[in-house]
Symmetry: C2
Subunit: 430 residues, 2 copies
């Protein structure tokens, strides 16, 4: 089947999929759990194939670890599915109810977006998570996983798709794309696809954003900052900076730049350097930083670089305003942290930094759907509309307006003897 045919099928499927009742969707999720467990051996065998290929190609160890999908991983995704079943139905919630006039009642009701295209890294558990989130939210989905996981993705997609269809999901609700060319094709299908969620490398996400008119939910860069204010607990500042940089360097919410208020620099930087040295972090500092501790020189380019590595750039600033300005100029609107004892300055930082996540006295690494209590995470967004920061199920939802009348026409509400609207809030029963 071509990508176009898959997208057409998904687009047809969404009408029925969006109207499945909660019990049916949950039965389908239950059937997926059972099918994954029943097909355990075949799934692990397919993953072995992928792993052998990947080892031959000398894939790096962390990537091999992500690629691995064994009994334990299957158990984990099944636990995830079980908790998804317990979540309330995101479709059909009445968000507002307003009487416009007697017998003319308006309801704002949550509804699926339609067809979602998701492109993700070589992590088979991501396929299960995304497919199940889309099913629960009534969205048809077109998936493209990393090619290293091709065999695993194929059997997972088949297993999941079939199990859901047996419980009443429409044919074509889940389509699996196989090549990069399929993705390029998808980018042109704005008539059929309503949202693209790209996960993966910066370059790739940027490429997607530049080459489609379909809305994209995601982030390209994650240039996150920790700013140590003039009145800060410096031990805390060291701990938070170290965690933000080192706890997991290869991710978007790791810190890349440390900003230090001039008044705190002399007391802070030496102990910060001792800690970074212990953890093997390369420090690149501005001239003033170099005047206090021994660091490599930072250039303009460093402020714009997402290292995703044990490297950090450091700049001394003269004021809170200068710190905010640096963050808004060089940051990527992802996650930025202030360490301060001054509550008012903390609020100013949170008000003025134009980022999805603005944190006070804690690590940038908390920026994550699971930690935020959102349940499964669709991705992290640096968009300025729709959904921002860690995005859970609600990022896959939109709403419809339902207006129920009894022969009401607008002519009665216009002109000289216009009837007035009542615009009376209707108490919701639930």
């Amino acid at each position: 089947m071509t990508t176009l045919e898959k997208a057409q099928k998904a687009s047809q499927a969404r009408t029925l999929l969006g109207t499945l009742d909660h019990a049916t969707k949950n039965r389908a999720l239950g059937a997926i759990i059972k099918a994954l467990q029943d097909n355990r051996q075949a799934i692990v065998a397919a993953n072995q194939e992928d792993l052998e290929q990947a080892e031959k190609k000398q894939l790096a160890a962390p990537l091999l670890k992500r690629l691995k999908f064994d009994d334990q991983k299957i158990e984990e995704v099944c636990e995830g599915l079980a908790s998804l079943i317990k979540l309330p139905d995101p479709v059909g919630n009445v968000m507002n109810a307003l009487e416009l006039d007697r017998g003319l009642e308006l309801f704002k009701v949550s509804s699926p977006i339609g067809v979602i295209g998701v492109i993700f890294e070589s992590r088979p558990d991501a396929l299960v998570q995304i497919a199940s989130l889309c099913l629960k939210s009534g969205n048809a989905v077109l998936l493209k996983g990393g090619h290293e996981a091709a065999a695993t993705n194929q059997i997972l997609a088949d297993t999941i798709s079939r199990a859901a269809i047996q419980e009443g999901a429409p044919q074509g609700w889940l389509g699996l794309m196989e090549t990069r060319i399929d993705v390029e094709d998808l980018l042109g299908m704005s008539d059929l696809v309503d949202l693209i969620v790209p996960r993966g490398s910066n370059e790739f996400v940027k490429h997607i954003m530049r080459n489609t008119t379909i809305p994209v939910l995601g982030h390209a860069d994650g240039i996150c900052h920790v700013y140590v204010d003039r009145e800060a607990d410096l031990d805390m500042a060291v701990r938070i900076s170290q965690d933000s940089k080192c706890q997991y360097v290869a991710v978007c919410n790791a810190a890349e730049t440390l900003l230090v208020h001039a008044n705190a620099a002399r007391a802070f930087l030496p102990s910060m350097k001792a800690t970074f040295d212990t953890h093997g972090v390369e420090m690149r500092g501005c001239e003033r930083t170099a005047g206090i501790v021994d660091v490599l020189p930072a250039t303009e380019k460093d402020w714009k670089t997402e290292y995703l590595d044990l490297v950090i750039s450091i700049k001394i600033v003269d004021s809170l305003a200068a710190a905010i300005d640096h963050v808004n100029t060089y940051g990527s609107g992802h996650t930025d942290v202030i360490v301060t004892d001054d509550r008012q300055r903390a609020v100013q930082f949170m008000d003025r930094v134009d980022s999805a996540d603005v944190f006070v006295n804690c690590s940038s690494r908390f920026s994550d759907g699971f930690r935020f209590g959102l349940g499964a995470e669709v991705g992290i967004s640096t968009n300025k509309i729709h959904a921002r920061g860690p995005v859970g199920l609600e990022g896959l939802m939109i709403y419809k307006w339902r207006l129920l009348g009894n022969g009401h026409i607008v002519a009665d509400y216009a002109g000289k003897n216009a009837r007035p609207f009542t615009h009376r809030d209707l108490k919701l029963d639930d």
Copy 2:
């Protein structure tokens, strides 16, 4: 000033603008009311200039009427401003509050989007409305009005901008663009502009959507349907169809296609035709329609056409499913109506029609921000993300995540002895 400079100024202004407190924003809105009233004579004189030019160019009467901005219009926009002052501050609302762990608290807080570009028709009242909505919501704004209103727009923008700045709004919060070329320039400024709201002709909106990577909030086509079901009050169906088509033909929420269930066609179409004839509506029907009443033939093209005129296409369908399929195939996801006595079929129509507004037994013309009780309307959106249907102030808002800790780091919540998260809802006081 070039458009780039205006956009840079707006982008600088947004940081402060987004943090203005409610009282300051309301004082600024009050100052705008006063300035409009004080400058009444100069504004009306500028508008006279525009009107004279427009008359020379023989602008059509309805356009002249929209262009006119006299004492009464000034009074009306000032009333609008007064009601906007009464609305609550949309910025800084805590939408969610969650304890992640002791002393680590997460708040989802509403915030402005940033810089909004709005392109609108030659209606000076639209400038006042949009500028004031942006001010209230803490968004900087770049405006481009129809060139017929150039002189009026200039004095209005100056008056509004200056009055707000005197009360504490930052320089550059409102920029006025003057030419089409300015708009083309704007489309490339995705680093500075966060959202574009184009109002105006289909072709123009489509052009914008095709030529920018900045998110666009709006609608191109408004191909709205009225479907008369097999069990419908036929008098009501005639009344609703007539209102949907004729109450105001030149707008996006007017009906363009009438779908009629085969069982109702013989009883319904003759009286519908009598009514449409009275109102001078040209009917273009499918072959089966032509077998019942005297109509011009409809072609495939008619199902895809937004007439914005006293013309309607008519098709007989054999089932509710066929009606839904027609709407989802040819419609524009704007507003679609079912007239039916069968509640279950009404629900099925609302569930399955993939449009912003799905109405039962009332006119498509109700699809409007004022009628929906949203206060002022930013526009109508057929987007599938962010905001759908009539969009009020909330369409100019997004949110930030604020996380307040006390030295919390992620390492404590990872690995073998990981601390669990509490994820406990915090009761909101307000």
